[in-house]
């Protein structure tokens, strides 16, 4: 089991953060375009996950419209709690509580990036299977 990548969007659909861990296939477009394209994946309340034959996308949206999207492989069970934790213990702590971070712009806090990276790497399903 593994985590592929993670997107954070704000309520206007701009991409605040993009993190990548085990991504084997790059879309045939630049990351900026991926961000723009990924903005199409904005559905209504109540949407939780979708899965294809190869990966599973987990979606979490707060009442303020922050959207956290994580792609993992199929073996990962419901990751709603994890996405909520990313929001409450990382985004709120290191972005919202940091007066130098302008809300609604791409996140530039190194502290946030390193903490997020550590958090994702510590997840029980992070390490890819020996294939």
């Amino acid at each position: 089991m593994t985590v592929h990548n993670l997107y954070i969007f704000d309520r206007n659909g701009s991409c605040l953060h993009y993190g990548e861990w085990n991504r084997k296939k790059q879309a045939g477009i630049s990351k900026e375009e991926v961000r723009q394209e990924a903005q199409l994946i904005q559905l209504k309340d109540g949407f939780l996950t979708f899965q294809t034959s190869k990966y599973k996308l987990h979606y979490y949206e707060t009442a303020t419209g922050i959207k956290i999207i994580m792609n993992t492989d199929l073996g990962v069970p419901n990751a709603k709690d994890i996405l909520h934790q990313i929001y409450s213990t990382l985004y709120v702590e290191y972005i919202v509580k940091n007066p130098l971070c302008v809300l609604g712009e791409q996140l530039s806090s190194d502290l946030f990036s390193t903490r997020l990276d550590l958090y994702i790497r510590a997840l029980p399903f992070f390490s890819p299977r020996a294939a």
């Binding site: 592929h4 990548n5 085990n22 991504r23 084997k24 296939k25 879309a27 991926v34 394209e37 990924a38 199409l40 994946i41 109540g46 949407f47 939780l48 996950t49 979708f50 899965q51 294809t52 034959s53 190869k54 990966y55 996308l57 792609n71 492989d73």
Partner: protein, 219 residues
């Protein structure tokens, strides 16, 4: 548990068949006095609740009837604008029925082609090589299962999240499609399916799948 509906989408994203098996009805009727304690707005030629949830009336519910007479889009049965009608205090007390608006055939066509492109985006943005499009999409009240054949036809089933045996049902529907739609000499490819035998067999398959689960609709 229940199977809600079935969609068949051709390879161009056109909806060629749709069947609603079980539509949960959430309706609420209530008598209001002036002024109305709900905020209403016009959305897509329908009057919907935009703020204020109470007594089973939810945001997004459409106004279905006033004093027991069904409304006609954003107009009352006798042709007055509903919003104007409800502004007039002499019309109160008024009894209004709210509920989820049924999807029109046009909206269903739109949703089918929207899913068609989401399916493609799902496979394009894949972090792994060789991924298909969306096979299963889960929300808190339903699960959407999609099976794409090699020829590009998509069979989509919306069911309760706890419903089992959907994969077998999707393949059964494919079989019914091959047997009763494709072998019908009056059926032209990529066009809407209007074959009685297809209808009958699909309904039969849905009944069997419904019975396979232990609980009936609404449980």
């Amino acid at each position: 548990m229940a199977i809600f509906s079935v969609y068949v989408v051709n390879k161009a994203g056109g909806l060629i068949y749709q069947y609603d098996n079980y539509v949960p009805r959430a309706e609420a009727e209530k008598t209001f006095s002036y002024p109305l304690d709900l905020v209403l707005k016009i959305h897509d030629e329908k009057v919907v609740v935009s703020f204020g949830q109470r007594d089973g009336i939810r945001v997004g519910h459409a106004l279905l009837s006033i004093n027991g007479v069904d409304v006609n889009g954003k107009f009352t049965a006798d042709g007055k604008e509903i919003i104007e009608y409800l502004k007039d205090s002499t019309n109160y007390p008024v009894s209004i029925r709210f509920g989820r608006a049924r999807l029109s055939s046009n909206e269903k066509l739109m949703l089918a082609s929207m899913f068609h492109s989401l399916f493609a985006i799902g496979s394009q943005l894949s972090p792994e090589v060789g991924s298909t499009g969306i096979e299963m999409l889960e929300t808190d009240i339903f699960k959407l299962h999609c099976f794409q054949t090699l020829t590009g036809i998509k069979f989509i089933v919306l069911a309760d999240p706890r419903q089992s045996g959907i994969d077998a049902l999707l393949r059964k529907i494919y079989e019914i499609y091959s047997d009763f739609a494709l072998k019908n000499p009056f059926y032209s490819l990529e066009m809407p399916i209007r074959c009685e035998l297809f209808d009958q067999n699909l309904k039969g398959a849905l009944e069997i799948a419904d019975k396979a689960s232990n609980f009936g609709p609404g449980s």
